[in-house]
């Protein structure tokens, strides 16, 4: 792999802007927990939402008129990544730019509304305006139209590992030297229906905070937003390898798969790890794999601060890794158990000696992926 990160952008429950969110993470900020109510049984759920102010700077566009939040998040993050890279997509560059979109739950708000109308009132009540927005690739289509991308556009679906799988696919797409840039975007929106589903799957926590690496998995808090990374050939932040590993058959097997990935990605003791621990069974699998294979490595997870955004989560992790390498610092890991045996940054911590970061994404539905990001030279 010879790709580099040319630009990045994100919109999160802690706001928007690569550096603004990073500063808040370094300060130890945590997203504001909000309650939303289920519409079928009145159950209430805790979520981390993107503040309205974070979308204020998104310029109007005809394609964004009726779209769901997920498409707005994607547009905001995608445009920021391009601006961050100082790349302007004119006709020629747009033709040589690919878009790969990572998604898990997709446009769940419109999908629920569309199907609710069918269930409550019958097919004749179904809205032809909502239906197209329920399709998984609708956000990618809007973003491609806004950016003028006319070549390869792919929407990749999967679990929480999909962001890293999208990075791997970007690497495959860029083996074609007719492509100069690949914009990888991950996005997700939160809805009570998703919360209900994850609750019934016993993966959701009713109240904040998220407690990573806890011996007892108390569950995750869902969040929303988007992350975007513009990949190019050449640059100081290199993607050294992506390991889209085999899936795990049972949750108990996740640890073994994580160990396989880690053993292939870890090269030096000074590398740090951006884990995907989110308060679920994932945490103990990562905990055991990390403490066995890289007991000296610093380990951080951003999910206590930003929540679990599934499709966007992997991109957020890569952005955190990039920022940590650039700023030579890791934010404090929030709400970790006092007796944890991993090396964690309890406070902001220097990673000046680190040349590389490992990003691990263990999804909730069988997929696991890893990536190694390094400072060139």
């Amino acid at each position: 792999m010879s790709l580099s990160i040319a630009g990045m952008g994100w919109i999160t429950p802690l706001g928007a802007g690569a550096d603004l969110v990073w500063d808040r993470l370094r300060r130890g900020d945590e997203a504001h927990a909000e309650k939303i109510a289920g519409q079928c049984d009145g159950q209430s759920y805790t979520v981390f939402r993107v503040p309205e102010s974070a979308l204020a700077s998104l310029a109007p566009h005809p394609r964004l008129r009726r779209v769901s939040l997920i498409s707005r998040f994607a547009a905001a993050a995608g445009l920021e990544a391009l601006a961050n890279a100082r790349v302007k997509l004119d006709l020629k560059i747009a033709e040589r730019t690919a878009l790969i979109f990572a998604i898990s739950n997709g446009g769940v708000i419109y999908t629920r509304r569309f199907y609710r109308d069918i269930v409550e009132s019958g097919p004749q009540a179904a809205s032809p305006l909502l239906f197209p927005e329920t399709v998984f690739n609708a956000p990618a289509s809007h973003l491609a139209a806004i950016l003028g991308i006319t070549g390869a556009t792919y929407t990749l679906v999967g679990d929480g590992a999909v962001g890293l799988l999208a990075m791997r696919m970007a690497d495959e797409v860029m083996t074609n030297d007719a492509i100069d840039y690949c914009l990888v975007v991950g996005a997700e929106e939160v809805d009570w229906l998703l919360c209900d589903a994850y609750r019934r799957w016993r993966l959701l926590r009713s109240e904040a905070p998220v407690e990573p690496f806890s011996e007892i998995a108390k569950g995750m808090i869902l969040s929303e937003g988007a992350g975007a990374i513009l990949l190019a050939r050449g640059g100081p932040l290199k993607i050294e390898s992506t390991h889209a590993c085999r899936y795990y058959r049972k949750r108990a097997d996740a640890e073994t798969v994580l160990k396989q990935i880690l053993s292939e990605l870890i090269e030096a003791e000074n590398d740090f790890v951006i884990a995907s621990a989110n308060g679920t069974f994932v945490d103990q699998a990562e905990y055991r794999a990390l403490s066995r294979l890289v007991p000296e490595a610093l380990v951080y997870t951003v999910k206590p601060a930003l929540g679990e955004s599934v499709g966007a989560g992997g991109l957020w992790q890569i952005i955190v890794a990039s920022q940590a390498l650039r700023h030579e610092e890791l934010p404090p890991l929030l709400h970790a158990p006092a007796k944890i045996r991993l090396q964690i940054p309890a406070l902001r911590m220097s990673v000046r000696r680190a040349r590389a970061a490992i990003v691990l994404s263990c999804g909730l539905n069988q997929q696991i992926a890893g990536l190694r990001l390094a400072l060139d030279g």
């Binding site: 199907y115 609710r116 991308i149 006319t150 792919y154 999967g158 495959e172 085999r246 992926a369």
Partner: protein, 407 residues
Amino acid sequence: MTRSTALNGKSGPARVAVIAAGIISPLGCGLAETLASLQAARDCITPVTRFSVDRCRCKTAGQVPDERVVVERNGRRGQRLHRASHMMIAALQEALTQDRQFKPDLTVVGTTSGGMSYGEDYYRALHRHDDLRRSPTWIANYPPQKAVIDAQEAFGISAPCEVIANACASGTNAIGHAFDCVRSGRYQRVLTGGYDALSELVFVGFDSLQASTPEKCRPFDRHRTGMVLGEGAAILALENFEAARARGAAILAEIIGYGISTDNFHLTQPNPSGSGARQAMERALESARLAADAVDYINAHGTATPFNDATEGKAIGQLFGRVPVSSTKSMMGHSLGAAGAVEAIVCLLALQHQFLPPNINFRAPDEDADLNIVANESRPASVRTVLSNSFGFGGTNASIVMQQFKT
């Protein structure tokens, strides 16, 4: 975007062989039944039985009967799988029976809605305060990647899975990307294909758009009134040509070109000029290093909606003139994420058995498109090179070029 001929710094692109294939669709279970249906021009559209369509305009679809879908595998675990998983298992089983040595480095599959009907079951139960004891099963088996992982698990395959959801172009995009992955030399063997199972949400969605028809599906006919939906799964095993030859694998055909374009005109409508479709086909030809007149048959996207067929017909007419064209969706419906893969197998059968698959229910040519439609009956023909189109919501357009392989 022009596809480079010198990929990844290597002297030239690798040849890509199709070494095995499997299919389950309304046309039948397996390659033999599919071939028989195609040659007999069978109309496999039937009244919808999976959910009530009393209040829909359209009341028919191409359906795979349940008794053909559910494979007795994996014991109790198998009972929890979505029927999409069972279709994928059936298709993969057929492919692996042809080449038991095939171990993919990567799997790339297209779908649009995964196990959507499980999502519907869950929402209905929730909304009506019904029994939700099965909800963890519905939720865990609903995601689109699940059917792919289930199929791999059933045969002990552990390759990484890339699941592409590019609407109706998903299947062709998956094959195209898999082709690129082998062609670039990055992978030796890639499993690819597509799947989708009929669901109420999607059926009503197309009905709400009035894209589906209460009548017969008549692609490219002057009086066409819309599409009918379908379902199915299809798998192709791709391998580096030289590697396949070296190990003595049977080569069914070659994939020689892939084109992709994004048409930013509208979320659900193609550019009326046909530019998006044309660009995908041009790029596929360029990738295959072929002139348009080398193509002997086009399996069109041909959904039979007035607008889509007009734009595709215009693009085909401009590029290819009077090359034989058919939309086999007329026989089995539009299986969305599976369609590109199902139709790639239709093309494979056409190459192997030297015939043109039919476009049934065709009565009169469209006044605005001068196309050479393979009307109503299959016919023997010399078929060496074929092109297959898939165009989807979101403006995703994909075309692949396949070629006959002669030993």
